[in-house]
């Protein structure tokens, strides 16, 4: 059965399933929003495009008009922050990447949403906030015990490989993630099929200096030992600890993937690597769970659709697995006057029905009910595989929850990329990272003598994030 007919079949199931799900009712109170216009700012990503397919339904039902401003990812944070810090109030709903939450929330740019969740006039009866995976909801939206955003989908980053190419080369990839998939295995598998003369490279990596914060990081974590977990960047006193052997080993491994890359690839971003994979020119590539449908399984690319194995990033030499937590949430601007209408939109967008129906077009789940639904099992089984992981393993603070993240990520990228082009070695990069990150933290006020109100390092005890969604402020 070809993947396309399989999808068509599943879509029919989904459609029939949805038709019996009660449509969320509009409350009497919400009627007063008719005619309101909301501006939404979001990245030009496939999971958002999937959700926007349902906008006409929302506009018809609530009489609220939604204007979507689609921004290239590279500019989204810049543009959001310009609007936020000037307090224009022009944008009512922001799409917030989990790694930006600390920055936005600490500066007071987002409005807490709990009061709206609890307001029956604004939130449909079947909304059921406790249906969200606890760690996903709090990981995405909680800063300082306060809920700011609602996740539209969350998942790990991983790797995608061509199963058919592996078969042809005489080996079988793991079906889903398991412990046998290690960094060493990955390198060997890529070596086996690497054949650039015939247009197939072993692994399309993403070494561009702006991407290390999402593409290299899984390896930084994988190369830790169980004892160094939690001390990847900073110690308990917020002193930078990144200058250590695990960092050096992980950079060396990451740069070793250069063996499979074309000569002119030091600036490659996710776009280039993905494009090469889509054209059938690469055996493996970086992925993010929410992009799988949009990039690899959209039914329009016969070269790769249905032939992929979507795996986690490999386990490191000490058996540590990267606990990646990637997520986008929708938050309300603190400056807008249309907060109630904005919430009406967000609760509709994250409702059970919409979330489940949008799976078909490439959106991701963040609710127990969606993860467990037949739709997901049928259309996007890779989600089902990560349910347990998102429930218990994932670390929402992998990219440490501080307003300084943008700078930390930039420093890692610049130094790492210099190793990639052979300007410096990994040891020097690690030393430079420590030096520069220390400066950033100092400017952020972390080392002021006698300061007692330093943020809690929540990643050291992740049960914090397992609180039930309805219990947050």
């Amino acid at each position: 059965m070809s993947i396309i007919t399989k999808y068509g079949f599943a879509a029919t199931i989904a459609a029939s399933f949805v038709s019996v799900t009660p449509v969320m009712a509009q409350t009497e109170y919400q009627k007063k929003f008719e005619g309101v216009e909301l501006n939404v700012m979001n990245p030009a990503f496939p999971q958002f495009a999937a959700l926007w397919k349902f906008l006409p339904e929302f506009e018809e039902q609530y009489g609220i008009k939604i204007n979507v401003d689609e921004i290239p990812f590279d500019q989204l944070r810049q543009k959001s922050l310009v609007e936020m810090q000037q307090g224009t109030g022009r944008v009512d709903v922001f799409a917030v990447d989990v790694m930006w939450l600390a920055e936005y929330a600490a500066a007071g740019f987002l409005a807490p949403v709990k009061q709206y969740v609890d307001n029956p006039e604004l939130t449909a009866e079947g909304y059921d906030i406790d249906d969200f995976l606890p760690r996903v909801l709090s990981g995405t939206g909680v800063y300082n015990d306060t809920l700011y955003t609602i996740p539209i989908g969350a998942g790990p980053v991983g790797t995608t490989f061509r199963g058919d190419v592996a078969e042809a080369a005489g080996f079988t990839l793991p079906e889903k993630f398991d412990d046998s998939f290690t960094t060493e295995y990955m390198y060997e598998a890529a070596s086996k099929v690497h054949n650039p003369e015939n247009g197939m490279i072993g692994f399309a990596n993403v070494p561009g200096r702006w991407f290390w914060g999402v593409t290299y990081l899984p390896y930084l974590y994988a190369f830790q030992t169980p004892e160094t977990k939690g001390d990847e960047y900073v110690g308990e006193d917020w002193k930078i600890t990144i200058n250590n052997q695990h960092t050096i080993d992980s950079i060396d491994y990451y740069v070793s993937l250069k063996d499979f890359m074309p000569a002119d690839s030091a600036n490659w971003g996710i776009g280039e690597a993905t494009q090469l994979y889509q054209s059938g020119g690469a055996f493996g590539v970086w992925n993010y769970q929410d992009f799988i449908t949009g990039f690899f399984e959209d039914g329009g690319n016969a070269t790769i659709n249905g032939k992929n194995k979507h795996l986690h990033t490999p386990a490191g030499p000490h058996g540590v697995i990267d606990p990646w937590f990637g997520s986008w949430g929708m938050g309300i601007s603190v400056d807008t006057e249309k907060k109630e209408a904005a919430w009406t939109f967000i609760q509709w967008l994250t409702s059970k029905a919409i979330q489940e129906r949008a799976i078909e077009f490439g959106a991701g789940p963040s609710r127990h009910s969606t993860y467990k639904s037949e739709t997901v099992a049928e259309i996007a089984p890779w989600w089902t595989d990560t349910y347990e992981f998102m429930l218990t393993e994932t670390n929402p603070d992998e990219r440490i929850r501080t307003p300084e993240w943008a700078e930390i990520s930039d420093i890692m990228g610049e130094e790492g990329n210099r190793v990639w082009i052979g300007e410096i070695d990994a040891a020097e990069a690690a030393a430079n990272m420590e030096k520069k990150m220390t400066n950033v933290m100092r400017r952020g006020g972390y080392f002021i003598p006698g300061r007692t109100d330093l943020p809690k390092q929540l990643w050291r005890d992740l049960t914090y994030y397992d609180r039930l969604p309805s219990e947050w402020n």
Binding site: A44, D69, K79, V82, Q86, G271, G281, N301
Partner: protein, 286 residues
């Protein structure tokens, strides 16, 4: 072929010398290098996704309007096209009309501080856009000009003024003053003389300058990105979002390039004679 040949100068009025084949070789080579990348992206715009993502260049393919359909029907890019047109035309008109008088004053009158004014005007073109973005943003916010076409028109007018003033000053200088003076002796007011005598003589240069300004305004990216969002978004930020927003889609980029460049390429194609003659001060010479 000798080095000296290469720099042999001929005034337009000089008698024609026999043509050298190497001149054609060089010029055709330059044409090829300059045009090929554009032709290639235009061709990509007519490919379907499979041809556009192939791992080697595809030269023969069945043209399709798939990418145009995506941009025009799904993304409604023609609205951004309209914004771009309005903003570019209006800002060109205003900057040329306003800058013209300033250039005239700098060319015709010898007053104290003339060179300083002229240089100061130019310095307004020197700040990198990112540096003035925030203060402009704040000004626009106060004046309620964010995400409006009017705001962009005002900004682009101001941005192009230094260029207009500098281009036109030289050309005004080349028009002998006595033409105007004799018209004024005949009883015309200053403005009538300006309109009836100087302006017609300046028209080719003004046209050429306008073409330049139009190109610059139509193509502006940095300010358009941050000052507009939904209402007034112009073409450059839109094509950035739609073609390389997530994964790179070369055929969509190609279609977007066709849409954004077609008007200007056609325009310059039609106006190229005026462009050259206007820039070369196609006015009466002694």
């Amino acid at each position: 072929m000798s080095f000296q040949d290469l720099y042999k100068i001929e005034s337009p009025a000089a008698p024609h010398k026999p043509k050298n084949w190497w001149v054609y070789v060089i010029i055709l080579l330059v044409c090829f290098v300059n045009f090929m990348p554009y032709l290639w992206i235009v061709m990509t715009g007519l490919m379907d996704r499979e041809a556009a993502t192939a791992s080697t260049p595809t030269w023969f393919f069945k043209p399709t309007f798939e990418a145009f359909h995506f941009l025009i029907v799904e993304k409604g890019i023609m609205y951004n096209f309209m914004n771009s047109t309005i903003v570019a035309v209006a800002s060109t008109f205003f900057s040329v009309v306003i800058g013209m008088f300033c250039a005239y004053a700098l060319a015709r009158y010898d007053f104290t501080g003339r060179d300083d004014v002229s240089f100061w005007v130019l310095t307004n073109r020197m700040m990198p856009p990112v540096a003035i973005l925030l203060p402009i943003f704040i000004t626009f916010q106060t004046l309620k000009l964010l995400d409006t076409r009017l705001g962009l028109i005002i900004l682009y007018t101001a941005m192009q003024l230094p260029f207009v003033v500098w281009m036109l000053t030289g050309y005004f200088r080349d028009i002998p003053k006595r033409y105007e003076e004799s018209a004024m002796v005949d009883g015309d007011t200053w403005f009538q003389a300006f309109r009836k005598v100087t302006l017609p003589l300046m028209m080719p240069s003004i046209t050429a300058t306008s073409i330049f300004v139009m190109i610059l305004s139509w193509n502006e990216f940095a300010f358009a990105t941050f000052l507009t969002s939904i209402e007034a978004k112009t073409m450059p930020p839109s094509i950035m979002a739609y073609s390389i927003g997530a994964s790179i889609q070369w055929n969509i980029l190609g279609a977007a390039v066709i849409l954004i460049t077609a008007p200007l390429v056609l325009f310059v194609l039609i106006m190229q004679r005026q462009l050259i003659s206007g820039l070369s001060q196609g006015v009466v010479k002694e």
